[in-house]
């Protein structure tokens, strides 16, 4: 179960942390010793630790917000996208997270997702608008489960800490190497140090070691960083499969994401490891497996699909060993020992049909408008109007049919609004009509003016869609829902 995995990860993090810290200290010490062989070593060490402390403080206090802003993510409430919010809440319940993560949507048509957070209580999950428009509910659930697993397993914590260490190491060696370039013979003080040390040979060795370390340290650190992040991707996949009891959901989502072929504009090298699929894959960078932050997507999909109708960690381990061809234990024994076999469930009923490209693109625009506070207003003629949040007119004329529509003051998609709207519809059906075209003298009937030349559709006062065929010659149409008559004028 999760908990044992978590403590295992924590131990590994500490181990890694210690290893990287040692490397950082060695680097700092040696560089300082290079400049000032007498006492410079300690000074360099202190400076390295100082840099690391500063970076850590910044990351802890505002690291999350910085990363989110960098990735162009906007926080959203349930109103904006109830489905996303619901799915996140479902996964929060399934994974037993102590607090609900903050939900963000990224303005980008490329499908991707990431999660960050130093503690499970205070975490965030972000999803691109492209992802929301392309995936169905099961697939979205799989992706969200994967990201929440990163939070629950404290991967995000580890990644942040490692990122800081890596950043410090890279920073220090970068400055050192740059300074070497400008002052190849070392500092002025170097010449004074003939009195100390063990002669010119020792100093030469020291120089070589320092330079070598400065070049290699970032590479080693990055390799360690990548090795951990790749392993964690597999673990998160396994956790997601078990949480949702439906590995096919995540597999199918990964497939869609990988085949989308759109580069994620807001990603950069620093934020790349956080995403569910390597955001640079699409640009055809062709990174070798060793240097990529993510394992190859096709492999992940194959492992998930090979779980033979089961959804537990053991099944993932078996599938992993089979696909990779070697019996590497990806799941720590603590995650398997004592657990029982879990069958995977069937696909959910009533998934949305796959949309064509145009519909998907329109969806992305709509999602971003909703994120930015636009309201959606459906005119009686069927046109869906998008009202910007700063509009202060009380009514808006439909560009298609000219009808005046009242601008709602609250967003339309909340369940609360649904309840009110349902009550309103009931009121309308019984004859009261707030804000709609006024009933004329025939006592409660509505009017519609035909434009002629084809099919026309409009909404009855109660919300029911009424349609007129080109051949309809009558003057009155009765609504099947509320029973009201609408007078048809030519």
């Amino acid at each position: 179960m999760m908990w044992e995995l978590i403590s295992h990860n924590r131990r590994m993090s500490l181990f890694l942390f210690a290893g990287m810290a040692l490397l950082l200290s060695a680097l700092g010490y040696l560089i300082g010793a290079y400049y000032e062989p007498e006492r410079g070593g300690y000074f360099g060490l202190a400076a390295a630790i100082g840099i690391w402390i500063v970076l850590t403080l910044i990351s802890i206090t505002s690291g999350d917000e910085i990363l989110l802003k960098l990735s162009r993510a906007k926080e959203v409430t349930k109103d904006v996208h109830p489905r996303l919010f619901n799915v996140v809440e479902e996964m929060k319940i399934a994974s037993g997270l102590p607090g609900m993560p903050k939900v963000y949507i990224v303005d980008d048509p490329a499908p991707n997702a990431f999660a960050i957070g130093l503690k499970p209580e205070k975490s965030s999950i972000a999803v691109t608008a492209g992802l929301l428009s392309k995936l169905n509910r099961d697939e979205l659930q799989g992706v969200v489960a994967h990201e929440m697993s990163h939070i629950a397993n404290r991967d995000t914590q580890l990644m942040t800490v490692s990122g800081i260490m890596l950043g410090s190491i890279v920073l220090i060696s970068h400055f050192f190497l740059r300074s070497m370039w400008f002052m190849p013979s070392g500092s002025r003080r170097y010449r004074k140090s003939d009195s100390g040390g063990g002669g010119p040979q020792l100093q030469l060795i020291l120089v070589l070691v320092t330079v070598a370390l400065a070049i290699l340290a970032p590479i080693f650190a990055r390799l360690i960083y990548l090795a951990i992040s790749r392993k964690r991707e597999y673990l998160a996949d396994a956790s997601a499969a078990q949480l949702t009891r439906y590995p096919e959901g995540l597999a199918s989502a990964l497939e869609k994401i990988a085949s989308a072929g759109l580069p994620l504009e807001s990603a950069n090298k620093a934020t790349a490891p956080m995403y569910i699929v390597n955001p640079f894959l699409a640009t055809g960078a062709g990174l070798a497996a060793l240097t990529s932050t993510h394992p190859p997507t096709e492999e992940r999909i194959r492992i998930l699909r090979n779980m033979a109708g089961f959804a537990d960690y053991r099944a993932y381990q078996r599938s992993f060993a089979k696909i990779k061809g070697k019996p590497t234990a990806i799941i720590p024994n603590s995650g398997i020992h004592g657990t029982k076999q879990i069958e995977s469930r069937a696909a959910s009923a009533d998934l949305e049909p796959d949309k064509d490209k145009k519909a998907a693109a329109r969806d992305v625009m709509d999602i971003m408008r909703a994120v930015n506070g636009y309201a959606f207003l459906v005119c009686a003629c069927g046109l869906k109007m998008k009202i910007p949040p700063d509009l202060d007119q009380p009514t808006v004329n439909c560009p298609k049919c000219g009808r005046e529509n009242r601008v709602p003051t609250a967003e339309l998609a909340t369940v609360g609004a649904v309840v009110e709207a349902a009550a309103e519809a009931e009121a309308r059906a019984t004859g009261q009509a707030p804000g709609l075209p006024p009933a004329d003298a025939t006592g409660g009937a509505y009017e519609y003016v035909r434009k002629g030349g084809g099919w026309e559709s409009f909404a009855c006062g109660c919300g029911n869609l009424l349609q007129l065929s080109p051949g309809f010659r009558g003057s009155v149409l009765s609504c099947k829902l509320c029973g009201k008559n609408t007078v048809i004028k030519q």
Binding site: V87, E90, I93, S95, A425, C462
Partner: protein
Amino acid sequence: MGWIILIIFVVLIASLVGMYNSLVGLRNRVKNAWSQIDVQLKRRHDLIPNLIETAKGYVKHERETLENITKARARAMEAGSVGEKSKAEADLSGALGRFMLVVENYPDLKANQNFLALQEELTSTENKIAFARQSYNDSVLFYNNKIQMFPSNFIANFFRFVKEEFFEVEEPSERAVPKVSFTS
């Protein structure tokens, strides 16, 4: 020599305390997961009246299906014991499932924005109930293992930690919507 004994003693006490605390933590997690199930069940009860109101006008010929839902809901809200509750809630799930099948025949209803929002809420609540149950069972399994396995079983027995029960329900058959075709 004395120091070594002292160190061993301290380590032993520390690990015993650790085991006790983790057992307490796990038991609380089980209790929390149980209450989460209740929360979601109640949420479903609250959503149903809106659903009925919204659908009523459209599905004129399905009065019976709607009434079944209302009756099942009433029974679920009254149920007392855990067994009664779980049966009543399963019945309610079944009634809702049958209704959703029926909805397939009413494109007008399916196009209604209110109904779509409610449907999403209901689907989500059903999922949350399922996940709350899943999470509860997962935490019970883990807790029971800890109680029964060596070495924490000694602590468990000493402090009288008892096994918790799984929340068993006739699982997928209740939730899966049966495939029925309206060809007659």
